[in-house]
């Protein structure tokens, strides 16, 4: 029976081509607008490290005080050198890391005559295990190396490809910005997006980093952050030491905490730390600390661009209008055949059968709308570069799950829209129809 109704539905589509085209277009445009904007939203709002996002936390300590901190009394989004290193020394979490962006360049050797600019991070040893950085060759460095302030680096697969043709370069020496470094590991492609671990300096969608170097080494070399830096009050430092002792924040800390008890413990530790600073006279305000996990941090840092949310909301509104439109048109289409329905009912068709038939017919409209929608979504995703910045636009892809979703949404929405028109069709009075024709 399903196949027969489906055939009837297809035939009926051809009967009022204008009305059908209108419905298919409404569904197609509505689905395509929603799916295109959703493909971006999905890419920017996803969980970049699903298996650990609830166990990774970024501690914040208010070192600026109530008069200078952020809106709503929020502490700064990063730590100053003093507070960052104090948290590291206390070592209250099983794993912990500090990180900031630095600028390095690969100095020309051999056939390469131009220096290469490299996106780099200064990090501590736990960075690689905490964030599950995959390795092609070698590994990260150890906590002992951190203490020894070693000149070790981990490089990206892409850089390894560029400099060493993809060969195992572990153990080789690399001249970066005029200093020799030993390569201890080559990371496989790793660029979680949003880049949850550095939302202070990036908007979450930057290119993959090329080099990870030792935090302590970067400090020794007086490498100023190439990312963001934020200060308060009156500044007058002219030396690196002066900068380190200033209230400028530029270091992002992360800790790994495995249980609610550990989280509570760390929160206590942070409060105590701030209280100690208050007693020592460094802060003259009550402890003001935060401990946010990955998703809370992404939410607080507003990683999803407002453009993405607004365009998704507008597109959904657009889809809703298309559906209201479809309800009206289906009603017109079905009721035009009141006479035919009357005959079928008189010949013994039950209301249920009429109902099913018209829902299936609506389903065929949905299917056609889905096809058009898919086509338009492909166009939309292809042209998304016009609407969003390139880094975000390229995250939107038409993958199998989006294709499936496009069809499912088109068909389900159309069938839902058909409930009322089909119900009206099923309640056509056979006697009245037969009499009037």
């Amino acid at each position: 029976m399903f196949a027969y109704y489906f055939q009837l539905g297809l035939r009926s589509l051809r009967r009022n081509p204008a009305l059908t085209a209108l419905m298919v277009m409404a569904i197609g445009f509505g689905v395509a607008a929603s799916m295109t904007t959703y493909s971006v939203f999905r890419a920017v709002s996803g969980n970049p490290i699903p298996d650990k996002s609830a166990r990774l936390f970024t501690p914040q300590v208010d070192a600026w005080g109530p008069q200078q901190n952020l809106k709503g009394g929020e502490p700064a989004e990063a730590l100053s050198y003093i507070d960052a290193t104090a948290l590291m020394r206390a070592h209250e979490a099983k794993r912990q890391t500090l990180l900031y962006q630095v600028l390095l360049s690969a100095i020309p050797t051999g056939s390469r005559d131009m220096p290469l600019s490299l996106i780099s991070y200064a990090v501590t040893s736990d960075f690689f295990s905490m964030f599950e950085v995959p390795f092609r060759y070698g590994s990260g460095w150890s906590a002992q190396d951190d203490d020894a302030r070693a000149a070790d680096v981990v490089i990206s697969d892409a850089l390894n490809q560029k400099l060493f043709g993809g060969a195992n370069s572990v153990g080789r020496t690399l001249d970066l910005s005029g200093h020799d470094y030993r390569i201890v590991g080559v990371a496989s492609h790793w660029n979680p997006r949003p880049r949850f671990y550095d939302l202070f300096s990036t908007d979450g969608f930057d290119e993959e980093p090329d080099v990870y170097m030792l935090f302590n080494r970067a400090i020794d070399l007086k490498m100023r952050p190439s990312g963001r830096n934020s200060c308060r009050g009156s500044l007058s430092f002219t030396t690196w030491q002066g900068y380190l002792q200033s209230n400028c924040v530029w270091i992002t800390p992360w800790v790994e905490l495995d249980s609610p008890a550990e989280v509570a413990g760390y929160r206590r530790f942070l409060t105590n730390y701030a209280a100690d600073q208050q007693r020592a006279g460094r802060f003259n305000w009550a402890p003001n600390v935060r401990l946010r996990d990955v998703m809370q941090w992404m939410d607080y840092e507003k990683v999803v661009p407002p453009e993405s949310r607004i365009s998704l909301a507008v597109a959904l509104g657009f889809f809703l209008i298309c559906l209201v439109n479809t309800i009206g048109l289906l009603l017109a289409k079905f009721m035009r055949r009141a006479g035919e329905i009357g005959v079928r009912r008189a010949l013994g068709a039950t209301r249920g059968e009429i109902y099913t038939q018209y829902l299936i017919e609506a389903g065929t409209v949905g299917l056609a709308g889905g096809l058009l929608g898919l086509l338009l979504t492909a166009v939309g995703v292809g042209g998304i570069g016009l609407l969003f910045r390139p880094q975000i636009a390229k995250l939107a892809t038409l993958d199998p799950s989006l294709v499936t979703l496009t069809f499912a949404v088109a068909i389900v929405a159309t069938v839902l829209a058909a409930f009322y028109p089909a119900w009206r069709a099923a309640h056509v009075q056979p006697a009245w129809q037969l009499k009037s024709s």
Binding site: L19, M25, A26, F29, A33, T37, Q67, Q68, L103, S105, I107, D113, M114, P115, S117, S177, G178, H179, L221, K222, R224, R228, C231, R232, G233, S234, S236, F237, T238, T239, W240, G242, P305, P306, E307, R309, I310, A313, V314, G317, F318, L320, I321, V324, N325, I327, G328, L329, L331, A332, M335, R336, L386, L387, F388, R389, P390, K435, S436, S437
Partner: protein
């Protein structure tokens, strides 16, 4: 001729579902369209703000130093040599060193205070650094005071927070700090222990960022006489002679590399003209405007088509009644007026509901994204557009209805 509203209302009661659907569609369309128009207007307004820069002739070179261990004096010597080389190029009019440039996106900004004890800032200013060539290079208009003197230009090394004694500010900042036009010669504090005195005022100088925070301090900028000899790198802002932009953009990086090869000028975006910079920084605004534009057009088209579809169906259903009315003496015009009035009543109900929805949607964007509250003019325009759209859409089916022959009354059962 009097328009009979009561019979129309009675008839509508027999088409509750259709009436409701059209009204709902018009309401939702109005809500979306006037918000979309409002967003488009805001974004276009952002994009059309003057930067103050002579955008046709200016370009920016992002120059990074390959070696991070140079001393400040080594860097300074290199920067001076670079600038000399740039200024001597035949296609170049002028060049200045900078720590940033207008419309760069993000960038350095400082709080501004009027007294040294003040903790809460008075306002916020984008900070530019440059030498005595900054104003000429960018093509800014000095409206009061004077340019920097060469001997005023100080060196700022990598880890240094320096407040020079003199500053040139944009008119927007001058007016914000010292309303009444007496800013020249006044001093302020900008995150440093010593004051800085206004020696000049330039007309328009847009900030580096264009985000919402920057928009709330739009046009507030200051220029300090500093050569930013940062170990990481420097921006060279270069102004070509009129009509020689392309030539200057070709020559400049070559001249710099001829000076010293231990630098990185990215082949992709190391040298950018202002058309590119302008285009890039407003990516989000332009994207939103385009998306909202597409949605508006398609939405209005679909709503119009929907009205045509449903009204045609009604006309089809009522051919006999129309025939009866015509047979009883109604003129074609009366039938036409009937359908136009019917549509007007439905549309009016729709736009009434739509106005409420439009404001609710706008309130959501205001609270959620701190966008501006919608101006009622947009709702007014939207209401007008939808009423006209409804009348336009209903015209064809209504004309068809008016041509129904009185003979129809006698056909059928």
């Amino acid at each position: 001729m009097s328009i009979q509203i009561r019979p129309i209302l009675v008839a509508l009661r027999r088409h509750k579902a259709g009436t409701l659907l059209i009204a709902l569609q018009i309401a939702l369309t109005l809500a979306i369209v006037c918000n979309a128009l409002f967003i488009i207007h805001q974004r276009l307004a952002n994009m059309s703000q003057a930067s103050g820069v002579d955008e046709a002739d200016v370009f920016v070179i992002t120059n990074r130093w390959a070696n991070s261990d140079q001393t400040t004096s080594q860097i300074d010597a290199q920067v001076r040599a670079d600038l000399l080389a740039l200024r001597q190029l035949p296609a170049v009019r002028d060049a200045t060193p900078g720590s940033g440039y207008p419309l760069k996106g993000g960038g350095w900004d400082n709080y501004v205070m009027l007294t040294p004890e003040q903790v809460q800032p008075t306002t916020d200013a984008a900070v530019y650094t440059g030498d005595e060539h900054f104003i000429d290079t960018l093509g800014l208009k000095l409206v009061a005071g004077r340019n920097f003197r060469p001997d005023e230009v100080m060196v700022m090394g990598t880890q240094q927070a320096i407040t020079p004694p003199s500053v040139i500010v944009s008119k927007a900042l001058a007016d914000r700090l010292f309303p009444g036009g007496h800013a020249l010669g006044k001093s302020f504090y900008s995150m440093g222990p010593v004051p800085t005195t206004i020696v000049g005022i330039v007309d328009t100088l847009q900030r580096q960022g264009v985000d919402r925070y920057a928009q709330s301090h739009a046009g507030q900028s200051l220029i300090w006489p500093l050569r930013a000899d940062d170990a990481r790198g420097i921006y060279y802002i270069v102004r070509a002679k009129p009509g020689q932009l392309a030539a200057a953009m070709r020559e400049a990086p070559k001249a710099l590399l001829a000076q010293n090869r231990m630098r990185i000028i990215d082949p992709k975006d190391g040298v950018q003209d202002y058309a590119t910079i302008h285009h890039k920084v407003y990516d989000n605004d332009r994207g939103m405007a385009i998306l909202m534009g597409i949605i508006c057009v398609v939405l209005l088209a679909i709503t119009a088509a929907g009205i045509v579809g449903l009204t045609s169906f009604w006309v089809g259903q009522r051919r006999k009644q129309i025939g009866v009315r015509r047979a009883l003496g109604a003129r074609q015009r009366d039938i036409l007026t009937y359908f136009l009035t019917e549509n007007f009543l439905i549309s009016a109900a729709g736009v009434a509901l739509g106005t409420v929805l439009a404001i609710v949607f706008n309130l959501w964007t205001v609270t959620r994204f701190s966008m501006a509250p919608i101006s009622m003019a947009y709702v007014g325009v939207g209401v007008l557009v939808l009423l006209l759209l409804g009348q336009g859409a209903v015209l064809a089916p209504a004309l068809r209805a008016s041509r129904v022959s009185p003979v129809e009354a006698t056909r059928g059962g």
